[in-house]
Amino acid sequence: MPERTKLLAAALAPESTSLTGKSLSVTGLRKSYSGTTVVDGVDMEIAAGEFVTFLGSSGSGKTTTLMMLAGFTEPDSGTVSVDGRDITKLNPGKRDFGFVFQQYLLFPHMTVTENVAFPLQLRGVPKAEIRRRVGQTLEAAGLARFAGRKPRELSGGQQQRVALCRVLVYRPPIVLMDEPLGALDKKLRDQMQTEIKSIQRELGLTVVYVTHDQEEALVLSDRIAIMRDGRIEQFDTPRGLFERPRTPFVADFLGAANFLNGKVEEPTADGCTRVRLDTGGVLTARAHSCVPGQRVRAAVRPGKLRLVGVEEGCCSGTVETAVYVGSLTRITVRLDGAAPGTPPLRIETAHTPPRPGERVCVTAAREDVSVFDEMDGG
């Protein structure tokens, strides 16, 4: 049983019936502004009760995609449906979604109570019922003593809690959040992440979340869609993204990666791909549909490269720098035969590090090596 946070209590306060989220399905979503394509064909299925995050840098199309789900932006093409019902043409207000924005967007002329009551009034909930539900929600969220205040008299964190209450009070089955924690400091952000996650899990809400913060995405999400240039690069669980990156971009985006070019050799007896590197040495990867002779790029995370004594097929090189950063040491190694201008290998090790200038040999376990076609961008 997770700890009952205040906001979770707030969410549960008005009714005890648990609510289930709805599923959301997106096909072929496209949007361009004056010739520039911002979202270029997004397809995804989001299950009821799932927490899905769009992760990407600014300009990757994540916010525009969210706005199309919300109905604030009309897609050029594609459909959005909820539980199988097409809602692409529906106004935002008719979708019965909840929205939480980075800027909170609390109504400045209304008190906290009035802000939270507003969506209930719109739904024609009787006055006494509104008073009861708003009161209980604010009480549980620890906001009761601010009930009569205007938003500008609250701190950023308090404003964000009110914004969340304003959504939770009317129980939308699907909640869309656009960097809702972007304006908060680190400590408050961590706390709010826990609260949001527990509410979502407890109520079975479907949440679609946008952020550029990797850690936040990993903490919150059941699945993450990594966005790049208006497309979903990969849509997978956090573990899947880490362990089975489907493109060099994903491999590099979530925790950096070293890329090594080479050529596929005959597979090993147990069906693993062997890559003969241009710099000399061989890396072996788990089964991958590669044709012998194909040019490929092998990707290995800095933490997964191991320094070994001379061993069959290892890549030899010279240590350039070694920087101690607390729990581990960051080493860069220039491989023998590396083309001039290629970046050195980045390695993280917790063991006693070699000194700059020392000769080393590098290898990696087969489960830590990903192989991509050389043509894939990254």
């Binding site: 300009g59 990757s60 199309g61 916010t63 525009t64 706005m67 932006t73």
Partner: protein, 300 residues
């Protein structure tokens, strides 16, 4: 990144159907003010224009203009221009000193100073002019003060002459100049001045070579604005000036109210209008040049 500017961090309803709807709503809403101003502002001014070109017998003529630009009428026009120019210069000087001082005052004093500058703008110009009349008269406060300290030549005649008129009009234009100048002065990065001092520039050099060029656009705007607004000004010259300070506006008033010389009044009105347009044109050109330079800079 191409998408950065376009990706709506701003949540707007951007559907093509709604866009059409929005511009339709805008059009409907723009109708009342446009219609009103076309009927009661543009059309009457066109009426003034056509009247100024109409002869006594109804045909086309330019003789109201030749009249207006010769003899005593011409000297009225010239004195209007002169008073406007003097006002522009004086209000610029006083406005500059004030704005500069206010920019460096502590916030409380700055707010108080702005109050003294701006509040009179909302008090009837007649009332303010009346105050000046009481104050500047032969036995007014200023002359009493100057006489009591035995200032040479006191009492001065500060009223019913050009000095009086320019003092009055300057006080009317001052809120504009101070506000415009304050706008540009706020935009000056104090670190630039400090940097210049770091190179060894003296205070006067910094003022001349750095500060003045930075605020120059504002000086131009403020000066032209008070010149333009002064051209058609009437109350102060009429009440604080003597016979020699008849201005165009007063002449128009006389010709309409006392002499029934509507055509001639109209011609003077058109002349004032053209002078105003010329001034606004200069302002617009300067603004255009600045904007162009700016887009060039940010475009590269």
């Amino acid at each position: 990144m191409a998408g950065t500017a376009l990706a709506p961090g701003k949540v707007r309803v951007k559907t093509s159907a709604k866009r059409g709807h929005r511009s339709r709503i805008a059009l409907v809403n723009a109708v009342p003010v446009t219609l009103f101003l076309l009927v009661l502002f543009v059309y009457p001014i066109v009426g003034v224009l056509s009247l100024s070109l109409k002869g006594d017998s109804g045909g086309f003529t330019l003789h109201w203009y030749t009249d207006a630009l010769s003899g005593a009428n011409l000297s009225v026009l010239i004195s209007t221009l002169r008073i406007s120019a003097e006002t522009a210069v004086l209000s610029l000087l006083v406005g500059f000193v004030l704005a500069h001082a206010i920019a460096r005052m502590r916030p409380v004093f700055a707010a108080l100073a702005m109050l003294i500058v701006v509040v009179p703008h909302f008090i009837s110009a007649l009332v303010r002019t009346y105050g000046w009349i009481i104050m500047l008269g032969e036995h007014g406060l200023i002359n009493t003060l100057l006489t009591s300290i035995h200032a040479p030549g006191a009492p001065y005649s500060l009223l019913y002459n050009e000095t009086g008129v320019v003092i009055g009009t300057t006080s009317v234009m001052l809120p504009y100049t101070v506000l415009v100048l304050q706008g540009v002065m706020r935009g000056v990065d104090g670190r630039l001045l400090a940097a210049a001092a770091g190179f060894g520039a003296s205070r006067s050099t910094i003022f001349r070579r750095i500060y003045l060029p930075l605020v120059a656009p504002g000086i131009g705007t403020a000066g032209l604005l008070s010149f333009i607004l002064c051209l058609g000004y009437y109350i102060t010259p009429a009440l604080m000036g003597g016979d020699k300070q008849t201005v165009v506006a007063a002449l128009i008033d006389q010709q309409v109210m006392k002499q029934d010389q509507w055509n001639s009044a109209a011609a003077f009105g058109v002349i004032l209008l053209l002078l105003t347009f010329a001034g606004l044109g200069v302002l617009g050109l300067a603004k255009l040049r600045r904007t162009k330079a700016h887009t060039r800079r940010s475009g590269s």
